[in-house]
Amino acid sequence: MRILYFAWVRERVGLESEELDVPAQVRTVAELAAFLKERGEGYAHAFENPRVVRAALDRRHARPEAPLGGAREIAFFPPMTGG
């Protein structure tokens, strides 16, 4: 699965994107965030407060409980501040 990071989530993780084989037991957006959080210091910092990190599955906003399903791309980012 392709994982994208934006804004301060990107800065803390230290990556713009990565390809990852998501283990079968990781089924939802929230479970993936929890899984990533254990991957190192940058990830731990990015996901320290998982409620403020938003996600999009295949470019559509997704809630924490949304199943990853067959999505090819997931993005994690802070609340949006455009406009």
Binding site: A7, R59, H61, F77, P78, P79, M80, T81, G82, G83
Partner: protein, 152 residues
């Protein structure tokens, strides 16, 4: 005519509004909203030097396209143009443009406000502010969420 553009270049608000209206005789109301980069947020605060807009390529266009579809479902729009810039901007620069065209003014005004309110909370853009000694990601405002929620 319904158009979304995500670009680093500046836009010409006038030319975009004129393009929507050109050759038509059914448009009675044309509303143009331009959002600009301001130098100062809080009185007494350090002035802003620059703003950098990061975005999610692909999703930004798609999400704004979905917002336009929602607006079309609510108001009888003849056309709409949304342009959102990314990259580094200095005070006085254009950031975002929304143009709406309808037969009547209430629809054009409301659709433009709806698009701006939802752009702020759902289009994947993030602002990084540079001041003399600081460099901060802008925090999302509760007021913006409330502005968007009023349409529900």
């Amino acid at each position: 005519m319904f158009t979304v553009r995500i670009q680093s270049e500046d836009f010409d608000a006038a030319a975009e509004a004129a393009a929507l209206a050109r050759g038509r005789t059914d448009i009675g109301a044309l509303v143009t909203f331009a959002g600009l980069c301001r130098a100062q947020d809080a009185p007494g605060g350090a002035p802003l030097i620059a703003l950098t807009l990061e975005h999610y390529p692909g999703m930004a266009e798609e999400e704004i396209g979905r917002l336009i579809e929602q607006a079309r479902g609510r108001w009888p729009l003849i056309g709409a143009t949304v342009i959102h810039r990314f990259g580094r901007m200095v005070p006085g620069d254009n950031i975002v443009l929304v143009v709406t065209a309808s037969a009547h003014r209430a629809a054009a005004f409301e659709a433009a406000e709806f698009l701006m309110d939802w752009l702020k909370t759902s289009a994947p853009f993030w602002k990084l502010e540079e001041r003399e000694d600081t460099r901060d990601w802008v925090a999302a405002k509760d007021a913006d969420d409330e502005a968007a929620e009023r349409w529900n």
